[in-house]
């Protein structure tokens, strides 16, 4: 038995890694720039460069905090032409432009020189002091406007890769710089043009066709899993302790640690799942037994039809109809329509009983909606497994021995028929954490499912991926537990191979 459990756990590890990889791939391929989302886009106006410099600082900070200044994975497949340090460019558009330029010309060194020339041109804007001496008799406003435009154009140049667009932008810049007060910048522009010419002269497109594999011990995935401190002890971590220590990072939406959010939300999901499963088992086991024992009786037929109908009704439809009927001021206003407790909350020091009796009306409709699905599923499973058992020889033997029908059914048959039901228990963990997304949204239950939905609507991908990963891990644990339970409950199953 112990050997079996150990072997199961060994198999567990690659699956676990695969699940984290899946979550990581989803997070990395999510649209939008996470850094952009974290930096509150302050409108730049007034002094040139001052606010944008602040923004750039912030961008750098967040890209470090989110670990985006690291390569993505332990190894990467790259072309000989591309630099393996491209990920250090924190702006997504500029990174894309650089990558495409490299694909076209195949000489990263020259392109890097070109890029830093633009960078210098850009930063030169900040050092210009606009006053009347500098304006050389032109209106100061006109000069400021020119510099603004020039800054805009040269910034855009960094994110441009199309040849004709680059030429057009350079053309525009040259035009602006034809004014005499722009000499400082036009020198820099000449350098940019020179470097671009160099890029075109020394193009080596063949390098693109040669694959190269690079390895990175420190990367985004590693950091996500193990944190940015010591990967075994977690000491010295600055921003994240890693998934392995329960740190899933920061939510984009609330800017709060995800593990804290999950800790506050998990109760209600777990509560509803547990209640519905317990109720489901209580109703469906006797029902399944009765319809299997009295197969083809009227009771069996009617209950089968009802169970089948319930089984085919979508949960969100049933929940909406319930709300429409029993929480609608125009029809029957028996229950409140949303939430799990009164909006104003409970007075300080309310007793356990007071709290739960206050919550009770809020819980009825959700519990019905949660339960009927699992109830239908469980009764069908129970009926089928009971049907298989009642035709077995040992049941016939038990009857032939003269045991009462009650003993035969509840003592001999039930024990074996319960086995498939155990497997269902494995699914409780993931449902509890993922929650029933749809039902929680309909009833505005502050649980995990609702949180996932809000995260999706607000494109809060770290949250989505955190829930995905946790659910996956818990399902694995659930399968392991149910396998062990199975082995305990059924002595015929031997796991020692």
């Amino acid at each position: 038995m112990l050997k079996y459990v150990l072997r199961r756990i060994l198999v567990f590890i690659p699956t676990l890694i695969a699940i984290t990889l899946l979550g990581f791939v989803i997070m990395v391929s999510a649209p939008g720039d996470p850094v952009e989302r974290m930096v509150s886009a302050a409108q730049s106006g007034g002094e040139i460069g001052s606010q944008t410099a602040n923004q750039i600082e912030q961008k750098k900070f967040w890209s470090k905090k989110l670990g985006l200044d690291l390569p993505i994975f332990y190894f990467s497949l790259n072309t000989l032409a591309h630099s393996d340090t491209l990920y250090r460019v924190y702006d997504r558009n500029e990174r894309n432009a650089l990558s495409r330029l490299t694909s076209e010309y195949g000489n990263w060194e020259a392109i890097a020189a070109y890029y830093s020339a633009i960078d210098e041109l850009n930063s030169a804007h900040g050092s210009i002091k606009v006053d009347s001496t500098m304006a050389m008799g032109y209106s100061v406003d006109k000069v400021k406007q020119d510099i603004n435009q020039s800054y805009f154009e040269s910034s855009a140049l960094k994110a441009t890769y199309n040849e004709t667009v680059i030429n057009a932008k350079l053309e525009t810049l040259s035009e602006i710089y034809s004014a005499p007060y722009m000499t400082i910048l036009s020198d820099k522009l000449d350098i940019v043009k020179e470097k671009l010419e160099a890029v075109r002269q020394t193009a080596t497109p063949w390098r693109v066709f040669v694959p190269v594999v690079n390895f990175y011990p420190n990367n985004q995935y590693h950091r996500w899993i193990f944190g940015d401190g010591n990967w075994v002890t977690g000491k010295g971590s600055e921003f994240t302790k890693g998934v392995i220590r329960g740190d899933f990072g920061t939510s984009y939406r609330t800017k709060m640690p995800i593990s804290e959010v999950i800790a506050t939300k998990i109760f209600w999901s777990f509560f509803f799942t547990m209640v519905s499963v317990v109720l489901g088992y209580l109703v469906s086991i006797p029902l399944g037994i009765q319809s299997a024992v009295h197969k083809d009786s009227r009771f069996d037929r009617i209950s089968s039809i009802i169970v089948f109908i319930l089984y085919s009704i979508p949960g969100f439809f049933a929940a909406t109809v319930l709300l429409m009927t029993f929480a609608n001021p125009d029809v029957l206003h028996w229950f409140p329509a949303s939430g799990v407790e009164p909006v104003r909350g409970f007075p300080e020091g309310a007793s356990f009983f007071e709290v739960w009796s206050g919550r009770f009306p809020y819980l009825i409709l959700p519990i019905i909606s949660y339960t009927y699905g699992s109830f239908a599923f469980l009764s069908r499973t129970m009926r089928v497994s009971m049907l298989e058992i009642v035709n077995q020889d040992y049941i016939r033997t038990a009857r032939a021995k003269g045991l009462s029908e009650r003993t035969v059914v509840y003592k001999h048959a039930l024990r074996n028929a319960l086995l498939p039901i155990i497997t269902v228990f494995a699914n409780i963990f993931p449902i509890a954490i993922g929650g029933s997304v749809v039902l929680e949204v309909i009833f505005t239950i502050p649980g995990m499912g609702n949180e996932v939905f809000q995260a999706i609507v607000n494109q809060d991908y770290p949250m989505v991926v955190a829930v995905l990963t946790i659910t996956g891990v818990l399902t694995l644990v659930g399968y392991l537990v149910s396998d062990i339970l199975y082995a305990v409950a059924d002595p015929r199953i031997s796991y020692s191979k």
Binding site: I19, L77, I309, T320, V437, I456, T471
Partner: protein
């Protein structure tokens, strides 16, 4: 089973079909399914605000069948009148004779006179060609009411059946393809039946990496540009990429044969096909379907095609497991051994001889899978995740009914539509299971 059927004349397919026909609910649901499919197929002819046939100022028109969107009609006085089919107010035009579609409304098109939730039984209004506003004549009633914007619910239901059925069937088509192939491979080869030389094995792995590199990485920019242009461009670029991929793989397959002849690399090893595929299945089933699908749908661009792909790519595990189990049994049967001893290729044995016999259990999984896919699609469109906001679906209709519980017709009718479709597929699945699995007969 009686001895008569067990003779050499016994035909499993006929037996299963006769068993299936005896199962009345399943047989009836097959018919209902046919009707549903017809409704979906002919939706534009059943519910359309453009007349099927109209005669207007001496011209005979078939607007509902027209491929162009603009008619240029030459009038008697020599001038030209332009009619844009999709925005013309046909019901207010002076048509000499006209044949309307059974439901004379299109989904997504507002009937402004009847906006703001008109109930099926309540008062509805109609504007005649002369401009009068009268009580709704029976021919033009919104029999299932309207939405807030005055869209006809019945027409929406009819057109939404196309989306639900296509998603159900096509996504399961994808899942079936993946599930059957992977399940068959896993069951047939197991862990130690597919053997290859060490040299060929490693060469092929290198080949896979290179194929990915040349087909998808080098062409990454081209592919992402194509996504921005059009579906056809993307399809073309993808096709080129897949061609390159296959070509490189094939090349390395042959190189591998040569490498496998070298000393040291000549020793053979097993390819653990079964372990690999089983692990893949285990990973997929350990993530709750809804959470996984919602996560992917949140990242991908909302579109019906994407939804289909996501459901198809995540729901093949059941089919693969059934097929695998069936192939574990089949691979030891005599006719497979006969095929092997005749020197047939493995591909021929698997796909031509074994698969047709191993497909029955998968059919059951497919029928249940379609029901599940339709449920997933409607839940997602109910939540508004992964489905474009302007597409009318059964789920989105129910979701719009949540804004106003007085409009019960927005919840009840689409809900019934989902229920009937799902129930029909579930009944079909049960009928198939009973018909193909003699063990369940008692």
């Amino acid at each position: 089973m009686s001895g008569q059927t067990a003779t050499s004349q016994f035909n499993f397919r006929q037996y299963a079909w006769s068993q299936f026909k005896k199962n009345k609910p399943a047989y009836i649901s097959l018919w209902i399914l046919g009707v549903l499919a017809c409704i979906a197929l002919f939706a534009p002819l059943i519910a359309n605000d453009q007349p099927l046939y109209a005669s207007y100022k001496g011209h005979t028109l078939f607007p509902a069948f027209s491929f162009e969107n603009v008619y240029e009609l030459e009038l008697e006085n020599g001038s030209v009148e332009k009619i844009q089919l999709d925005i013309a107010k046909w019901k207010q035009m002076k048509l000499e004779s006209v044949l309307w579609a059974p439901v004379p409304y299109a989904p997504n098109r507002s009937d402004y006179l009847n906006s703001d939730y008109k109930s099926p039984s309540g008062e509805q209004y109609f504007q005649t060609p002369t401009g009068e506003i009268i009580d709704m004549p029976a021919r033009f009633r919104h029999y299932l009411g309207t939405t807030e914007k005055g869209e006809d619910v019945l027409s929406g239901l009819i057109h939404a059946s196309r989306i639900s059925l296509t998603i159900g069937i096509l996504s399961m088509g994808i899942a079936t393809l993946i599930g059957l192939v992977l399940g068959a491979l896993a069951g047939y080869f197991g862990d130690n039946k597919l053997r290859t030389t060490r040299g060929q094995f490693y060469t092929f792995i290198v080949g896979l990496v290179l194929a990915y590199y040349y087909a998808f990485m080098l062409r990454g920019d081209m592919l992402s540009d194509a996504i921005g242009t059009s579906g056809a461009a993307l399809l073309l670029q993808l096709l080129v990429s897949i061609l390159i991929f296959t070509a490189v793989c094939y090349l390395f397959y042959w190189i591998g044969k040569l490498v496998g002849k070298l000393p040291l690399l000549r020793s053979t090893r097993n390819i653990p096909v079964d372990s690999f595929i089983s692990r893949m299945i285990e990973i997929l089933i350990s993530i709750p379907g809804m959470v996984l699908i919602i996560s992917i749908a949140a990242v991908a661009k909302p579109s019906i095609v994407n939804l289909m792909l996501i459901i198809g790519l995540t729901r093949w595990t059941g089919i693969a497991r059934f097929t695998r189990a069936e192939f574990l049994k089949i691979k030891n049967l005599e006719y497979i051994q006969a095929g092997q001893s005749l020197g047939f290729s493995e591909a021929r044995i698997i796909f031509k001889h074994a698969l047709p016999n191993g497909v029955a259990p998968a059919l059951v999984a497919i029928a249940f899978g379609v029901a599940a896919a339709i449920l997933i699609e409607s839940s997602l469109s109910f939540l508004g995740v992964g489905v474009p906001p302007d597409v009318v679906t059964w789920g989105s209709l129910i979701s719009s009914g949540r804004q106003n519980y007085a409009a019960w017709w927005l919840v009840i009718f689409p809900g019934l539509a989902i229920f009937v479709t799902v129930a029909v597929y579930n009944l079909l699945g049960e009928g198939l299971r009973d018909a193909t699995d003699p063990k369940l007969k008692t």
